[in-house]
Amino acid sequence: MEFQLPEINLQLMAPEIFLFLWALAVMAFDVTTKRKSSSTAGNLALVGLAVTGVIMVFTDQGRGFGNMFFNDSMAVFFKVIFLAAAFMAIGSSFGLTHTRILNHRGEYFGLILLSTVGMMFLASSSELISLYIGLELTTIPLFVLAAFFKDDRKSVEAGIKYLVVGAFSSALLLYGLSFIYGLTGTTDIAQIRSILAHSAVAGFNPAYQESTPIMVMAVLAILGGIGFKLALPPFHQWVPDVYEGAPTPITAFLSVGSKAAGLVAFAKIMIMGLYDLYDPSKAPNDWGILVGVMAAAAMIVGNVLAIRQTNIKRMLAYSSIAHAGYVMVGMLALNSLGLASVGYYMFAYLFTNMGAFAIVALIEDRTGSCEIASYAGLSKTSPFLAISMTIFLLSLTGIPPLAGFFGKFYVFAAAIKMAETGSGLTWIYWLVGVGLVTSVFALYYYANVMRTMYFVETDSPLKVTMSPMAVAVIVIGVVGVVVFGLNPQPIVQFASDMPAALGALLP
């Protein structure tokens, strides 16, 4: 057997290396300065993320470490999302630095950065082992962060639930991946795809246009594993509890960063690796229709159960389940528009959701309450927060001309275009129909929050004093939602490079 040192090409992973070292520096700094200065660690973390972003501009695309590391345009796009999500999560954490994370500020910010490093490695892995390691490096710091309020029962419970669900879904995913390895003899995603496309002995038999039963089982296990990570029904029960219990900025990071990481894993394994099991030109769509059912269930369950919630974090948790459903509609549209629409959707969702959670975090810091009822009279005491929240909620609903509207628009357009090209794809129309109908439900519960803020009279309205960093995050969110809503073209342009990254395999 031959051993060769692969071409290492460290320059390609300069952003990851820098961010990792910076995370260690942030933690070391916080320990050595005896934790005196309250916001220095957070500021340092923000600077690190910004510098990483600058480094990414100068980083080439290409392969390093043999075939292990592939910095393609999809990786770059999602890395921007991860960095921005971490930036906004850290920005909205500043209210905690004096109080609940007082003794562990450095570790808190450092673990967020380490989780971001994991997401970035995940996005540029092109091989199952490094993909798995990246996924775990993403989630393990998040387990800790979810349980970070150590004397708050809800937070600890969120931590253990997230850990058990995360480990369980990893085990399920690994069990499925082990069969993929057994059927193809490789863990390289590109090779898996070429073996499945050309070889009749592996798990997929092109002659009969159908998967072998063992491959079906493997795909089911993988879908179960990723379904847990993306919180698609029937694997969604953990979401409300974890989202409610975790510290609010971490909830925001979970709902955007970790979700985007799950989407990348899905794209890598299911679309780059197992594309031939879902080829619209070869009729039976083995896993496509299953994911379609999960997406439809996500839209229905998320939107219907969100109506009943009185806690805004739980409401946003259910709404994030619904949004995962919408994104998966775009993911199923395997044309050049599909992945680009997913990218745009996540970009819009990033600004919208991070902004909304920043407001929730700010109000929770000042009042200790996450109940929707306590938002009564917000429009009188702090009109800025009320207007920003309204913009975010309208964008989540999908009202033009905000970014959320174009996200939904592109996703559904991509799905319909897909349904027109392939035969036996009429179920995609049903999926789009479910999406449109459930959007109306969504309007109801989002409007309920707006009604509370503007029209409910109360004797003791919220008095919120704002911190500059929280205002900055909210302003970034509002500007992002409005600007990319009025002018979606730059992001669409950026996102439309991604399908090329899949090796020009899409129609």
């Binding site: 775990e136 419970e157 253990i160 850990l163 990893s170 085990a171 069969f179 390895y181 057994g182």
Partner: protein
């Protein structure tokens, strides 16, 4: 080789059953270890019989062992927190809802 795969499937299901039914949090973590081990048996068996001149499966299994150990560490740290907060680690003592 099928026998090894069957052993792994049985072990996986035993772990699955444990995760669903255990009331003790440490019991759940133990059951998770069984599931990871089932995946490892699969990988090593495939490596032995399928991949020929390569050890990718065994390398994958090594990484899984490392990650599972790290996950168990965090899990047990959180178990300690649960114990501090509730004075007990049964799932229904701290949770109204089962995952």
């Amino acid at each position: 080789m099928q026998y090894y795969l069957m052993l792994a499937a049985l072990l996986f299901v035993i772990g699955l059953f444990g995760v669903i039914t255990r009331r003790n949090t440490i019991g759940i973590l133990m059951s998770l270890e069984l599931m990871f081990n089932a995946a490892n048996i699969n990988l090593v068996a495939f490596n032995r019989y399928i991949s020929g001149d390569g050890l990718t499966g065994q390398i994958f299994a090594i990484f899984i062992i490392v990650v599972a150990a790290a996950e168990a560490t965090i899990g047990l740290a959180i178990v300690l927190l649960i114990y501090r907060n509730w004075r007990g680690i049964d799932t229904d003592s701290y949770s109204v809802m089962k995952w």
